[in-house]
Each structure stands twice: as structure tokens, then as C-alpha cells.
């Protein structure tokens, strides 16, 4: 992991469950793995002042986000004995009920995969320059804020 190979994490639009299935299936040849931990973000139909969110439109400062993600990835691999880690974040429009984030970690024993997955999700939300614009059914919008 020491050479500076920046992996892309961004995908256009929603993440399809069949893509998640393919990702999982690819790991069947990695027979040193005993546990996978997956986090999926799904766009919630929040109601604000009687208006419903119909989609979130994601934008990012992509270069900076990928560099930051690379740094997080290296930290996480140093900290946990992981076999693999895969991260996908949507850009563009993702409708309510669709998947916008897919974090996938694997390790020989369950604990590192579980802990690393949670830490990646927290750090990604706190540190990556990505913005979600909540689009309402009436055409108005508001900017999402992470808690």
C-alpha cells in the first residue's frame, strides 16, 4: 500500500444491489477471509416542513476527496489486519430508497473487518469533501448535514 496509487471511489448515480452481489462473489477465491463487514447508505425520504425528499444530488471536490480517501485507506490498512477494503460513493442523483454508499471490508477473523468498516464510514463522512443536496418533490432543495 505504500506506492501512491489513488483508487477511484466515485460511481455515477445509485449503487445497484447486483453490483454488491458481484463484489461479494469475487471474494470466494480469497479463502483466507472469514468475515466481511458491509455498510450501505440508503437515501432516506425525510420530511421537512411537510415536504418529502425525493432524491439527493451528490457533488464532490473529487481530487481532494480521492487523496483524502487514499490517506484514510493507508491508515486503516496499517491499523487493522484486513484482506481487502472496497469503497464506493455515488455522485449525481440518487433517489430515495436507493444505495449511495457501499463500504466493504474483509479479514480472516470478524473483529478487524467490523471495526474497520465502521471507522471508514465515520471518517469518510467527516473528512471527505462531498456534499449532498436534498431535492424535494416540489423542486426546492436543502443542503444535507452529516451528524
Amino acid at each position: 500500500m505504500s506506492e501512491k496509487k489513488i483508487k477511484n471511489i466515485f460511481v455515477k448515480g445509485a449503487i445497484d444491489p447486483s453490483f454488491i452481489a458481484e463484489s461479494i462473489a469475487k471474494h470466494s477465491s480469497k479463502t483466507e477471509i472469514g468475515g466481511h463487514s458491509i455498510f450501505l447508505g440508503q437515501v432516506r425520504k425525510d420530511e421537512i416542513d411537510g415536504k418529502s425528499v425525493s432524491a439527493i444530488e451528490y457533488t464532490a471536490f473529487e481530487d481532494l476527496a480521492l487523496e483524502k480517501m487514499h490517506e484514510i485507506r493507508e491508515n486503516i490498512f496499517e491499523k487493522y489486519p484486513l484482506t481487502c477494503m472496497h469503497i464506493y460513493q455515488s455522485l449525481g442523483t440518487v433517489k430515495t430508497g436507493e444505495i449511495c454508499l457501499f463500504v466493504f471490508t474483509s479479514s480472516a477473523h470478524r473483529k478487524p473487518a467490523i471495526d474497520a468498516c465502521e471507522e471508514v464510514v465515520e471518517r469518510l463522512k467527516a473528512e471527505l469533501p462531498i456534499w449532498g443536496k436534498e431535492l424535494f418533490e416540489d423542486g426546492s432543495h436543502q443542503w444535507k448535514e452529516n451528524k
Binding site: 451528490y58 483524502k68 463522512k125 469533501p129 462531498i130 443542503w143
Partner: protein, 77 residues
């Protein structure tokens, strides 16, 4: 000195200028004051600057042609 501006999220709705000529401003503290005077909405919100794709935590000297990103709180994931 001339800088390039990248604005994101909510901030991109009111800071649309892409280039800025700065006179008598040499660091990011000076730039912040300048931007907040020019765009009062900015002074009412939290934001971070990145200089040449590095997020800065403290006052930083600006070079000519610097690329400054103005970023509201992140909300990815």
C-alpha cells in the same frame, strides 16, 4: 495577485466567481475577511479552505495563481 476560486455545495450558490484579483492580501486570514465582506452569507456559516488541494487548519501564505477551494461542512455518505 490572482487566485482561482472553487466553491462547493451551498457556497457555490452565492460565490460563483472563478477568479479573484487580490490587492494587499497575502494570506488566507486576509482572504477570508475579504470574502466574508464581499459575501455576507459566508460569515454566517461554517466553512473550510483548501489551498492547492490541501485543507488548511491555520493561516497560510498565498502564492500567485493559488487554487482556493471554499467548502461548507461535508455531507457525503
Amino acid at each position: 495577485m490572482e487566485i482561482e476560486l472553487l466553491s462547493f455545495g451551498k457556497i457555490a450558490e452565492f460565490i460563483t466567481v472563478k477568479r479573484l484579483m487580490l490587492d494587499g492580501i497575502s494570506d488566507t486570514d486576509g482572504l477570508k475577511k475579504h470574502l466574508e465582506d464581499k459575501f455576507p452569507q459566508l460569515s454566517e456559516m461554517k466553512y473550510k479552505l483548501a489551498v492547492d488541494k490541501r485543507i488548511i487548519q491555520e493561516n497560510t501564505i498565498l502564492q500567485n495563481k493559488a487554487i482556493i477551494a471554499i467548502m461548507p461542512p461535508f455531507s457525503g455518505g
